[in-house]
């Protein structure tokens, strides 16, 4: 077991550099996953805006609209002249300026619904958009009751009741998997592809490159060690090294997020997903190890491969925010399928969990891994022939 022992002696000597990567990346991952809020769906909450209402109609209908808005927002009457209102909007002391023109009630009763009110808003402000929706919703309700034969007072009362009684919208998921990956675990698993590539490139690849070095290899070839034993010992070293790194990350995850990591089904699927990606990362490392790169070039290659794959495939930026052409390219990279599966497990973005699609993602990653191993074998054979 000389090669095997030497493998881990070299690994131990490089442990300092590798553990720095582990600590930094683990630290960043943990920080990001701990500080991560819940996903977008849980982040909306009603907020009261500052609204000024200039009532030029001074009618029962205009008063009712003002009262309706007052029930939800901070409403002040009048805002001074137009220039003053614009100044307030510019300095964000006012969110919305509503003008109810003279003749508002008359037009409402006549069923003339177009442009009943006018407003000044902060351009592109979504809050203003929601106020306009609320006004439109209220006026539509009143119009409906008026059209139904009710008088104005009754129509206003009924509209108030109707809008107040609207059911609270609740998000429901059509996914079969109701037990989704929590946001902490989601972020923890999200960054693993990058970490795997960087650590394997900086830790495992230099060891293999050392053993593949021309002079050392020739010396080993001259010895009484059979090629079968040599390949076997190096393979066991590779497997143990990669597996140990993966287990270390799982243990860290277990330490941070508790034992449901192994007891719940969804985290188990995330673990399997990470294991399959690990296989690809090991295959890629074996391929890289066929070339006599020094530490500096390896660092450069790991950054190029790790960062570009991560950015293209949505490790750092959610896939929902990436342009379609980028995603089209990313489909040819295994990290894309890893992230798709991870998104699906967490019901992140627009992903809906589908077990079949999960297995499809796993299968595609396995194909990539197999391709990498095959490519590494062919390249190693070719390099051996050339030397």
């Amino acid at each position: 077991m000389q090669l095997f022992k030497a493998f881990f002696k070299i690994a131990r000597k490089r442990l300092g550099a590798t553990s720095i990567y582990f600590i930094i990346y683990a630290g960043i991952t943990v920080f990001l996953s701990m500080t991560a809020n819940d996903f977008y769906t849980g982040q909306f909450q009603a907020s009261a805006l500052t609204i000024t209402v200039t009532d030029e109609d001074q009618s029962a209908a205009s008063a009712a609209l003002t009262d309706y808005l007052s029930s939800m927002h901070h409403v002040t009457e009048g805002g001074g002249d137009r220039e003053n209102v614009l100044d307030q909007i510019y300095y964000r002391t006012l969110d919305y300026a509503l003008t109810i023109p003279a003749g508002f009630e008359k037009r409402l009763l006549a069923g003339d619904a177009d442009s009943l009110v006018s407003s000044l808003v902060i351009p592109g402000n979504t809050s203003s958009y929601y106020v306009e929706l609320q006004i439109s919703e209220y006026l539509t309700a009143v119009e409906l009751y008026l059209a139904g034969g009710y008088d104005l007072t009754s129509a206003i009362e009924l509209a108030d009741d109707t809008i107040g009684a609207l059911p609270v919208a609740e998000t429901i998921s059509f996914a079969k998997n109701t037990n989704t990956l929590g946001s902490y675990l989601f972020y923890y698993f999200q960054y693993l592809p990058y970490i795997f590539i960087v650590i394997l490139f900086s830790g495992l690849a230099p060891i293999l490159i050392t053993f593949h070095g021309r002079a050392l290899k020739a010396r080993t070839d001259c010895s009484a060690l059979t090629p079968k034993r040599r390949v076997g010992e190096l393979s066991v070293g590779c497997i143990l090294y990669s597996f140990a790194m993966w287990v270390l990350f799982l243990l860290l995850c277990l330490l941070l997020y508790g034992k449901e990591l192994f007891t719940e089904r969804t985290p188990q699927l995330a673990i399997l997903n990470s294991f399959v990606f690990l296989l690809f990362a090991v295959g890629l490392t074996l391929l890289i190890s066929c070339f006599p790169f020094d530490d500096n070039i390896l660092n450069m290659v790991s950054n190029i491969v790790g960062l570009s794959m991560s950015f293209l495939c949505g490790v750092f930026v959610p896939q929902t925010l990436l342009p379609a052409p980028v995603l089209d390219v990313a489909k040819f990279l295994p990290a894309y399928w890893y992230i798709r599966a991870n998104n699906m497990l967490a019901s992140f973005g627009e992903e809906i969990f589908d077990m079949n699609f999960y297995w499809q993602c796993i299968g595609i990653q396995l194909l990539f891994a197999a391709a990498m191993f095959a490519l590494a074998l062919v390249t190693a054979r070719q390099t051996r022939r050339q030397s």
Binding site: Q2, A6, K9, I10, T210, A215, C222, A224
Partner: protein
């Protein structure tokens, strides 16, 4: 008579159009320090790589310890130690760990291996540096480590491919003494080098090869006798007439004479008493002379005469 330790017959190795070894022959007896000399690209390393089964060859036979050498001849490989031209050690392992690693490729028994490693460390004079990493060693120490890694398992055949390249004279001397000691302890050595004086100092027999062929084989004395030039006599003479120069040229065993800048140079092709014969003539002719030099041919002269003086890659 026992079989040669290494026997190479009609070895042919081609790299596409280039013929690296052209019916190369070699026979090395047990207990020899055998020198393999040749200019760059002459095929020395190719021949050694073929002997070690690191390279496949096109034609010929190689026998080591009387058996055919094949890539899977692990029983034979176990008895061979190799010291490559390039230092082949692990930067991440200490001196002790490196020697232990390479020794472990041949010897599994831990206690025996430990003893072998200690012996190799003592042999190479690396006792003080056992915990040093290769990067902390000087060029000479690194070469000694390289040798220690190759001989730790106490092989019966040691192949050293230019082990003293870029080494200071003290380290070189130490290495050469070590090789002689290994030979005295029973190892047969194949030694390749560009340094003629090294080969002349330690090798019992030498093969000079060029363009993949073995051009001459023998002891250094035998090789020196093979070349025309066997002695160069230089004498400081104040003046010499052309007739006198011709008369000297006519003396036995003298094949070339020249007189330039008050220096008479005489090339002899063998024979004994050449110098007294010339000096007697000068005294008889009343030619006054000063300092007298007599140089016997070196292996370098043999090498240059056999392989030519044209520059190589």
């Amino acid at each position: 008579m026992s079989a040669p330790v290494v026997k190479v017959e009609n070895l042919v190795k081609r790299y596409r159009e280039l013929i690296a070894l052209d019916h190369f022959n070699l026979s090395i007896e047990e207990g020899e320090i055998f020198g393999l000399l040749g200019p760059n690209g002459s095929g020395k390393t190719t021949a050694i790589n073929c002997i070690l089964s690191l390279l496949a060859f096109d034609k010929g036979t190689i026998e080591v310890f009387g058996k055919e050498m094949r890539p899977d001849s692990y029983d034979l490989k176990r008895r061979i130690g190799v010291v490559m031209q390039n230092v082949a050690v692990f930067d991440a392992l200490t001196v002790y760990e490196n020697i232990d690693y390479f020794c472990g490729l041949y010897i599994r028994d831990k206690s025996l291996r430990r003893q072998c490693v200690e012996d190799a460390i003592a042999f190479a004079g690396l006792s003080e540096f056992r915990k040093f990493y290769p990067k902390k060693l000087s060029g000479g120490l690194l070469r000694r480590l390289n040798i220690a890694c190759g001989i730790a398992h106490k092989p019966k055949l040691i192949i050293l491919d230019e082990p003293t390249v870029a080494v200071d004279p003290q380290s070189r001397n130490n290495i050469l003494e070590g090789i002689t000691r290994l030979n005295r302890e029973g190892a047969t050595v194949i030694y390749t080098s560009h340094y003629m004086e090294e080969v002349e100092q330690i090798c019992s027999r030498v093969t000079i090869m060029d363009k993949g062929k073995s051009l001459a084989t023998g002891t250094t004395e035998e090789l020196k006798r093979m070349i025309k030039k066997s002695e160069i006599i230089s004498i400081d003479v104040l003046d010499l007439l052309p007739e006198q120069l011709a008369a000297i040229r006519a003396l036995p065993h003298i094949y070339e004479t020249s007189f330039e800048n008050h220096c008479l140079t005489i090339l002899c092709d063998g024979g004994k008493h050449n110098l007294p014969r010339v000096l007697n003539y000068l005294q008889e002719e009343g030619v006054p002379f000063g300092r007298v030099y007599s140089e016997l041919p070196t292996l370098n002269d043999v090498f240059l005469e056999i392989t030519g003086k044209a520059l190589r890659d």
